[in-house]
Amino acid sequence: MSTTSAAPATTNGRPPRDERVAASLRTGRGILLPGRILLLILVAVVVLIAGVTGDNPLKYSLIIGTIYAIAILGNNAITGTLGEINLAAGAFMAIGAYTASYTLSRGWGLATVVLAVIVVSLLLGLLIAIPTVRLSGLFTALATFALAYAIPDLALALSSITGGDAGTAITPPIIGDTLIDGSATELLIAVVVLFVVLAAVNVWLFSRSIGSRLLTVGEAPHAARSFGLRPLLLKIGVWTWAALLGGIAGLCYALAVGFLNPTVFTVFLSISLLAGGLVGGPRSVVGAWLGGLLVGTLPPNIQSVVPASSTGIVFGVVLLAALLAGSGGLGQLLERTTIAPLMRRKGR
C-alpha cells in the first residue's frame, strides 16, 4: 500500500489543497483529521439511536459489532501501517476476555478488572510482539496463524482459569442498580464511547509525526533505518497497541456475551476480524467501525438464508471482494464522498 507521491508545490511551498485531500484519503493522515472526527461522531450518533430505539437483538448485535470494531481498530494498525497480516486478532481478544472472566469471578471491582485487562494485555502483547516483529510478510502470517490455532487448545489446557471444555460464566458487574450485560443500554453507550475515544486517539496519533514514522517503517524499512528510526521498536509499539485494543475488546465481549468457551476464539474469528478490517479499509477509523458492524451484525441477520455454521461463505466472499476492490475499503469510500468534497470546497 504505497502512499508515496510527488505533489507539485504551490508558491507558498505547500501542495495544492486538492492534492492534500487526495493524499489524506490515501494515507489516513493529514488535512481530513477534523472531518474524520466529525464522521466518527456522526456514526456514533446513528449507532446509538439505532441501538436505543431498536429491539434487544439489534442492540446486542450493535454492541458485538462495536466490540469487534475495537479489535479491528487495533488490527488495522498492523495491516494499515506495517502492511503485515495478523491472523491472531482473536488471540488478543481471548487474553482480555479470560483476564476479565478470572478477575470478575474473584470479586474484583470493574475498575480493577479494567486495569488488570490493560496490564495483562500490554504484557502478553509485548511478549508476542517481541518475536513477531522480527518476522515479515508471509512468515508473520504463518506465525500468527499457528498462534491462532493454538489458542483454543491453550484455553483447554488452562482449565483452572478458562473452565476448559465446559466454559466459564462471567459474573456480570453491577454499576449503580444496573447489571452490565449484553442487553444493557449502558454497555452499548460504553462501547460506543470507548470506540470513539480510542479511534480519535488513533487518528490523532496517526496524524502526528509518529504516523509518518510508522508509515515509513511499513513502506520503506531500509529508508526508515537510514533516517535513524528504530523500526523494531516502532513495530513492537504497533503490535502492543493492537494487543491492548484486542484485550479491551475481549473484556467488553466477555461482559456482553456472559459466557466464554474456548471454541469462540478460533482462527475463524481472527480471519473474520481481518476481513472486516479490509472491507472497512485498514487506514480508516470509521471503516474499522463499519467492518466491525459487518462482522457483528451480518451473521445473525442472515441466519434464515445462511446458517450460523456457514457464515464462512459470506466472509470468504466478502474478503475476496475486499481484496479485488483494493486497499481503501468502505471507510475511504465514505470519506471520499462526504468529508473530502467539503474540505475541497472549504479551500476555494
Binding site: 490455532y149 466472509f315 474478503l319 475476496l320
Partner: protein, 290 residues
C-alpha cells in the same frame, strides 16, 4: 518406556505425513512465493467425494484415485480462476485469497454436507509390523512408503527436471525466467494442480485417523506449515527431517505434558526457529539487494 517408544515411532510415521502436507505447500511457494491456506479445504472436498464413492461400494483403490484426481482438479480450478489472478495485487493478497477460498469451502461444506464426523476407509487394517512394543498397521506402513516416495520424487523433480528448475527460476528471478521463455503463469497453474493432488493424498492418510469433517485435514496442514518453516522452504529433505522432529516432539508433549499443549508447542517451535534461523534449519539464506 513403552509410552516413550510409542511416541517416538508414531512420531516418525506421522512426521512423514506432516512433511507431505508441507511439501504440498512448498510446490506453490516454489513458483509463486506464498503458501495456500486452503490445502486442507481442497482435501476435504475431495475426501467427501471419496466418502460417497465408498458408501456406494467402490473399492479403496478407486476411492483413493478419485480423491487425488478431485484434489488436483479443484486445486487447478482455484489456482486458475481465483488465486493466480489475485497475484497482481501482491503475494500477501494472493495468500489472503487462499484464506477466503478456504473459509468459503468450509462454510459450503457445513451448509450442504454438515459438520458431523464421518468414518473414512483406511488403506489397510491389521498389524503389519511390530517394532519393540509398538505395532504399526498396514495403513501406517503404506502411508510411510507412499509419503516417502512422493517426497523423494518431488525432491528429485525440483532439482533435476527442467520443470522443477523452471519453477525455481520463476520465483527467484521472474524477469530472467520470462526472458528465457519460461511460461510462468502456466507453471503457477500447474503448481496448483500438483498441490491439489498432494492435498488429496495427504487427506487419504489423515481422514481415517481423525474422521472426516470440514476441518479435520486443516488441523494437520498446520503441522505441514510448521514442517516447511522449520525445515526451510527450499529444502524438501529439511521438511522431512523437520516433520519427523515435530511429530516426535508433539507426541512427547502430548504423552508427558498435556495433549492440549501440542499446538502451543508447535507455535513455540515455529517462532523459535523463525527467530534463530529464519531460513529454516536446512534452508538457504536469501540474498537480497538493498
Amino acid at each position: 518406556m513403552d509410552l516413550f517408544e510409542t511416541s517416538l515411532i508414531s512420531g516418525v510415521v506421522s512426521g512423514l505425513l506432516y512433511a507431505l502436507a508441507g511439501v504440498g505447500l512448498v510446490v506453490i511457494y516454489r513458483v509463486s512465493g506464498y503458501v495456500s491456506f486452503a490445502q486442507g479445504d481442497i482435501a476435504a472436498v475431495a475426501l467427501y467425494l471419496g466418502f460417497w464413492l465408498h458408501q456406494g461400494g467402490a473399492p479403496y483403490l478407486l476411492v483413493a484415485v478419485s480423491v487425488v484426481v478431485a484434489g488436483a482438479l479443484l486445486g487447478g480450478l482455484i489456482g486458475r480462476f481465483v488465486v493466480v489472478p489475485m497475484e497482481r495485487f501482491g503475494i500477501l493478497a494472493a495468500a489472503m485469497a487462499t484464506i477466503a477460498v478456504g473459509i468459503t469451502i468450509q462454510g459450503m461444506e457445513n451448509a450442504f454436507i454438515g459438520g458431523e464426523a464421518r468414518p473414512f476407509p483406511s488403506a489397510g487394517e491389521g498389524t503389519a509390523v511390530t517394532i519393540g512394543s509398538v505395532s504399526l498397521t498396514w495403513a501406517d506402513v503404506i502411508s510411510f512408503i507412499v509419503c516417502g516416495a512422493i517426497v523423494a520424487a518431488l525432491a528429485t523433480g525440483f532439482k533435476r527436471t527442467r520443470v522443477g528448475i523452471a519453477m525455481r527460476a520463476v520465483h527467484d528471478n521472474p524477469s530472467a525466467a520470462e526472458m528465457l521463455g519460461v511460461a510462468s503463469v502456466s507453471l503457477k497453474r500447474m503448481s496448483w494442480i500438483v498441490s491439489g493432488a498432494l492435498a488429496g493424498v495427504t487427506g487419504l492418510f489423515i481422514a481415517p485417523v481423525y474422521s472426516l469433517t470440514p476441518t479435520s485435514v486443516n488441523a494437520i496442514v498446520v503441522f505441514g506449515f510448521a514442517a516447511i518453516v522449520v525445515g526451510g522452504f527450499d529444502s524438501i529433505a529439511g521438511a522431512v527431517v523437520a516433520g519427523m522432529v515435530i511429530g516426535v516432539a508433539t507426541n512427547l508433549t502430548a504423552a508427558y505434558i498435556n495433549p492440549d499443549l501440542v499446538t502451543t508447542s508447535l507455535f513455540l517451535m515455529l517462532v523459535t526457529v523463525l527467530l534463530i534461523r529464519p531460513q529454516g534449519l536446512f534452508g538457504r539464506r536469501p540474498i537480497a539487494r538493498v
